[in-house]
Every structure is written in structure tokens, then in C-alpha cells.
């Protein structure tokens, strides 16, 4: 019997359980699947659905349930038919939103910004050799990379200065610090004798990180959010989640630590985390 379990594993994610409940309600949902243009939200009355956490308990009798990989061993007999083939096309017409939660409660955790990358145009051609000679905090190795790498101590940042007059500033932990650091670098270049200006300061990328403080079942998360996630443990220990709105890439690790990157503004990071927190809570061990 164990061999049978091993041979045909159907891992049944939470979303399928939702669909099963919906099927029992009536054919109205399934008919709405065939009309993709209609706003599905209006047709569906999801109030009867159990809350995520209790849904987890209802479907499992055992204490040791929470293994996303081996669910099927215990549930196989209860759900022989595989509605996955039916549900998946539905999932694409169904707008990809988080599974049902009541009013989105604030998580209480605020991601901390770790790195900000910005560029600025100094608007004058620069002699990199002379900069490297006159500045204490500069390194210039034209064979390796054709720019001067300059560092300042306060705020602790690094700048790449190119001969065209463009500069990239990295390492700051807030937008204001980034702006201040870029101005300091421009001032140094000015003092070295170049008519440097400070044009088009723009932040290109912001990286934040935080900890949800509970371990996460990455395999389960991959199954539920296949279209957004990429989890290949042979290559990288974390799950890479590409959120659509806002357009942020999250790296989610088994320890509960989350790294968010690709933001142009601080609020995108906060928004992305508020979106992912209820999803992660659903994969918390009960």
C-alpha cells in the first residue's frame, strides 16, 4: 500500500481545497470560468469559505500534517479525482490575488532598507587618473574596470565615477542619506578641480529586508503560487517570488527572512511586504 502512495503522489495545495468546496456549492462558479471577460469577483460569494488557518485543520486529521511535500500520502484516499487540470485554467482567469483573508490586518513588521542605488550626472568630463592621484579614498584600476571607486565614511557609501561625468552611488540606508552621500562625492570631485554640477539625481533600486519570525514551507508556497514563484533548492536556498503589483522581487527563505528588491520608492517595499505577509502566514506551521 505504501508503494502505491509512493507511486502516485498528487500533492494537493490549499487552492484546490477551495475549488473543491466551491464545486460542492454549485455549478455557478464553474460556468463563470468559461467567461473569462466577466469580473469573476462579482460572481463569487466567498464568504462561506473557511478561514485559511481553520481550512488547514479541517483537511488534516494528523498532528504532523504540515509537510507540504507529503500531504498527499494522507489525503490521497479522500480526493481521488484530480481537479488540478480544471482548476489551473481557472486560476489564470481568476485574477491572481492572495487567497481569501478578511480585512488585511497590518503585520506590525516594517521592512528595513538595506541598500539604495542611485545615479547622478556631474556634467563635466573627468580625468580619472588625476582623481585617483589626488584623492585618498579612491581606487582606479583601468585594466579591471574603467571607473574610479570612491568611498566615504559618513554615510558609509561607495561611488563609481566614470570619465563621462556620470556617477553611481550605492550603500546608503535611506533616500536622504543617499542624496547626502551623492552630494559629498560631487563636492570632493569639485574640490579636486573639476566644474562638477549635480544634475538628475535619481534612485534606481532599493533593497529591504525583514523577518516574519516563523519558518515557512517553501514547497507549499511554490505549489500555490506557481506562476509567481521559482524555487530550485539545487541552485539557491530561497524561493524567488516575482510580485506583479507592485513590481518587486522577493527572496523568501525557510527561516522566515524576506529580502525585497527592485523598488524605486520606499512605499513599494512596504506594500509588497504587506501583500506577502498574509500569504506567508498561511504556510506557517500550526
Amino acid at each position: 500500500v505504501v508503494d502505491n502512495f509512493l507511486k502516485k503522489i498528487h500533492v494537493i495545495p490549499l487552492s484546490i481545497i477551495f475549488f473543491l468546496c466551491l464545486e460542492m456549492k454549485g455549478p455557478s462558479y464553474l460556468s463563470s470560468l468559461s467567461q473569462p471577460e466577466k469580473d469573476v469577483g462579482k460572481d463569487l460569494d466567498l464568504s462561506f469559505l473557511p478561514e485559511e488557518t481553520s481550512g488547514n485543520d479541517a483537511s488534516n486529521a494528523n498532528v504532523t500534517q504540515d509537510s507540504g511535500v507529503f500531504d498527499a500520502c494522507r489525503q490521497e484516499e479522500s480526493a481521488e479525482t484530480d481537479p488540478k487540470k480544471v482548476a489551473m485554467p481557472g486560476a489564470s482567469t481568476f485574477c491572481p490575488m492572495t487567497p481569501v483573508t478578511p480585512v488585511a490586518e497590518s503585520s506590525g513588521i516594517i521592512p528595513m532598507l538595506q541598500n539604495i542605488v542611485s545615479t547622478v550626472n556631474l556634467a563635466c568630463p573627468l580625468d580619472l587618473k588625476s582623481i585617483a592621484l589626488q584623492a585618498r579614498n579612491a581606487e582606479y584600476n583601468p585594466k579591471r574596470f574603467d571607473a574610479v571607486i570612491m568611498r566615504i565614511l559618513e554615510p558609509r557609501t561607495t561611488a563609481l565615477i566614470f570619465s563621462s561625468g556620470k556617477m553611481v552611488c550605492t550603500g546608503a540606508k535611506s533616500e536622504e542619506l543617499c542624496h547626502l552621500a551623492a552630494r559629498k562625492f560631487a563636492r570632493v570631485v569639485q574640490k579636486l578641480g573639476f566644474p562638477a554640477k549635480f544634475l538628475d539625481f535619481k534612485i534606481h533600486n532599493m533593497v529591504g529586508s525583514c523577518d516574519v519570525c516563523f519558518p515557512i514551507r517553501l514547497e507549499g508556497l511554490l505549489l500555490d503560487h506557481q506562476q509567481f514563484s521559482s524555487y530550485v533548492p539545487e541552485l539557491f536556498p530561497g524561493l524567488i517570488y516575482r510580485m506583479v503589483k507592485p513590481r518587486i522581487v522577493l527572496m523568501i527563505f525557510v527561516s522566515g527572512k524576506v529580502v525585497l528588491t527592485g523598488a524605486k520608492e520606499r512605499r513599494e517595499i512596504y506594500e509588497a511586504f504587506e501583500n506577502i505577509y498574509p500569504i506567508l502566514k498561511g504556510f506557517r506551521k500550526q
Partner: protein
């Protein structure tokens, strides 16, 4: 086609032409017919087809013959499929993928190394499409290539060809991996042999336990597979002979590649088994060590659900008795996050990255700035060399350069 500058030795005319005379190129004077010089007689067919004036790549030939690297690549794909004993259909699919990928602009100009790896990646993608469980590590061993490179090429290939290749679950990998272990009676001594079926069964249960205890998520699959098979083998017949075998010796015996990570997984898995073994009622609270736990694995696995329940409840009791004492200690949480201190709610099983968390660099509190403050001159001056410093630096560099020249 006259050759410039040559003069006919007979009549002195400058009109020398190339004449392909019965596949022997000759330089002949157009006026008197004297042969000025002769070329070699072509002997091999390949020379005749490939030694042409117009380069093959510039020719107007419609059916381009496949280049040598493509042919080699296809041979490699076929060889890999034969080694892995894939079906004929899968072999064909892999070949098609390889041809498509090879000719795609993303891959036509990459290094030879990447092209070799591309062959393996096509095989891997085909296996995944047909739900044939195979690990990336296996391809790594077969190609003897860097796993990172394989990862990069594989992801690029999947993106380029737009194929859906769902990754295999670890339990499916176990069965295939198990078959690689040569432990049948004809390969090893009677006492050390074990049938593949029994081994897979026991290892599957151990793997499930490991997954529940957070040892599998986020980690490379092959070391944990090796570890569970090793412990399964030891526990199926826990005689002294078997217990004396280390993982390295076991891998050598079973003719499987050694792994440096697998011993750590063995330790972790034994720890988990010890925690459960502690709850066995007939031990009456005796200490279970990693050395003694192997004999009890049979019992532990048969009653693991009960043991787990008991372990969880006893763990909760232990925490409850502890918490009144440590309530005050919890106030000194980490400053960086207003997070729930983990120590208060530490569960029985945790991912090892949580238990042995890296010590973070002390976070400097973020100073509130507006970004438009005044920048002091003295600060900027501290980053600029004094003229004396510049002179010293230049002199030192020259001295260094001259000493290098002398050497």
C-alpha cells in the same frame, strides 16, 4: 583571374591566368601557353568540397550542413540519454530541444564549455517534462561541470525555448537515487546487502521525517537523500558490522560519489531521531545518544506519530516551566526589529538556519537626515591628499617601477 606581378619565363608576357586543369590548378601564360607553376593534385574528397575559394559560410548553399560542434552536441545528448536509459521519445525530444537552443541567437555564440553544458540541460528539461525524476546533481556528475554554470545555462535555456519543466519532488528522486546504490548480494557481502525496495521504503519514511523537521526545505536534495539511505541501510539490520561503517566507507562500498555535506545531514537526522526516541515509553527517560539511536529507529518510525505528539507535549511542558523564570530575560530582544523574541516560542523542530543563526553585524541606528544639509569643508578636505602626500606617492611609484625594471 590573372595573378598580379608574375611574368612568363618563356615570352615575358604578364598575362598569367589560373587554369583548373583536371582538378590540378595551374598558372598558365595566356600568350604562349607555358605553364608557369603547378599546384598540388587534390587527393581527398573533403579537400575538394571544403578547400574551395568561397568560404562555406559565405556560400549560397541552401541546406546548411550542421557544424561540427552541433554534431558533437547531439552525440553527447544521445550518449547521456543512453546512460540514463531514457525512452526513445525522450531522446528525440532532447535532441529537438538541443537543436533549437543551439541555433537560437542566445546560444550560437557562447563558449564551447557552455555548449557542452547545454546538452546536459536539454536532457534535464526533457526528463522534467516527462516526469522522469532526475536531479541536477546527477547531470553535474555526468558532465563533470560546475553546478552554478549548469544552473545558469539551464535557466537561460528554459526561458529561451519557453518550455514548461516542472521540478521533481524529492520523494520521486529518492527511488531513482536509490537504484544507483550497488547493495545487492552479488555486489557486496551477504551481511551488508540490502534490497533496493526495502531500502527505498525505509529511506522514504526517514525522508518524510526529515522534511517535517525542516531539514529538507531550502537545501540541496542529494546530500539529504544520501543521508537517509545511509541511515535506512544501517537501521534495517543494526548489527555491529553495519554500525561501524562511516558514511564515506558506505559510499565507497555502494559505488556512489561521496559528498561533503551528507555527514552533516546524517548528524541532523540522528538528532531528530534522538528527540523522538527519547519519548519511547520502555526507555523510561533514559538518555538516547546518536550512537544508540540506530537500533531504535525501527520502533521510532513505526510509532512516529505517537512519539511526535508526545514529544511536542513534553516540549510545551518544558517551555511552560521555563517561561516564568526567563520572562524578564526576553525583554532584551534585538534592537533592529520589533519582532517577537524567538526564544519564547521556540518549537521542537526548527530550520537549522534559525537555530544556528549567524551573528549579525551591529546595526548602526539610522540617523535622521534631510539630505540637503550643509557639508563641512573639513570633512571633504579629509578625503583629499595633501601636495606632499602626492609627491611622496609619485616618488614611491617611480621607485617601485624602476626596481621592477632592474629585476
Amino acid at each position: 583571374m590573372a595573378t598580379v606581378g608574375l611574368k612568363c619565363p618563356e615570352c615575358g608576357s604578364l598575362d598569367i591566368v589560373d587554369d583548373e586543369h583536371y582538378s590540378q590548378p595551374q598558372l598558365v601564360c595566356a600568350d604562349c601557353g607555358a605553364v608557369v607553376s603547378e599546384g598540388l593534385l587534390t587527393t581527398t574528397r573533403s579537400e575538394e568540397t571544403q578547400g574551395t575559394d568561397v568560404r562555406y559560410s559565405n556560400s549560397t548553399e541552401v541546406d546548411k550542413k550542421p557544424c561540427r560542434n552541433l554534431i558533437n552536441g547531439i552525440h553527447r545528448v544521445r550518449a547521456l540519454c543512453r546512460i540514463l536509459r531514457l525512452t526513445f521519445l525522450m531522446e528525440e525530444t532532447a535532441e529537438t530541444h538541443f537543436k533549437q537552443a543551439y541555433e537560437h541567437p542566445n546560444f550560437i555564440r557562447v563558449s564551447l564549455q557552455k555548449k557542452e553544458v547545454l546538452a546536459g540541460c536539454c536532457v534535464l528539461a526533457t526528463c522534467r517534462q516527462h516526469s522522469w525524476p532526475i536531479a541536477m546533481g546527477t547531470i553535474c556528475c555526468l558532465l563533470e561541470a560546475n553546478p552554478r554554470l549548469i544552473g545558469v545555462v539551464y535557466q537561460e535555456m528554459v526561458k529561451t525555448l519557453k518550455i514548461e519543466a516542472p521540478p521533481t519532488s524529492i520523494i520521486n528522486l529518492l527511488e531513482t537515487h536509490c537504484q544507483a546504490y550497488k547493495l545487492s548480494p552479488q555486489h557486496v557481502h551477504e551481511e551488508l546487502s540490502e534490497s533496493s525496495k526495502d531500502l527505498t521504503k525505509r529511506a522514504a519514511v526517514l525522508l518524510e521525517l526529515a522534511a517535517d523537521a525542516w531539514l529538507v526545505t531550502g537545501r540541496q536534495p542529494i546530500p539529504i537523500l544520501t543521508a537517509s539511505i545511509f541511515l535506512a541501510w544501517q537501521s534495517l539490520k543494526p548489527t555491529q558490522t553495519r554500525l561501524k561503517y562511516t558514511l564515506a566507507r558506505f559510499c565507497q562500498m555502494a559505488k556512489v560519489t561521496k559528498s561533503s555535506i551528507a555527514p552533516k545531514r546524517v548528524t541532523e537526522l540522528k538528532e531528530v531521531l534522538c528527540k523522538l526516541g527519547q519519548e519511547l515509553p520502555w526507555l523510561r527517560g533514559d538518555e538516547v545518544t546518536p550512537q544508540t539511536v540506530i537500533q531504535m529507529v525501527d520502533d521510532i518510525l513505526n510509532h512516529r506519530l505517537t512519539l511526535l505528539r508526545r514529544a511536542l507535549s513534553s516540549h510545551e511542558e518544558a517551555l511552560a516551566s521555563e517561561s516564568p523564570d526567563t520572562g524578564s530575560v526576553q525583554q532584551q530582544g534585538d534592537h533592529s526589529q520589533p519582532s517577537v523574541p524567538n526564544s519564547g516560542k521556540r518549537s521542537l523542530f526548527e530550520p537549522p538556519s534559525v537555530r544556528y543563526a549567524k551573528i549579525r553585524r551591529v546595526q548602526v541606528p539610522v540617523v535622521e537626515v534631510t539630505g540637503d544639509e550643509e557639508i563641512s569643508d573639513s570633512e571633504i578636505d579629509s578625503y583629499i591628499r595633501t601636495p606632499q602626500e602626492i609627491r611622496d606617492y609619485v616618488e614611491a611609484k617611480e621607485a617601485l617601477a624602476s626596481s621592477d625594471d632592474e629585476l
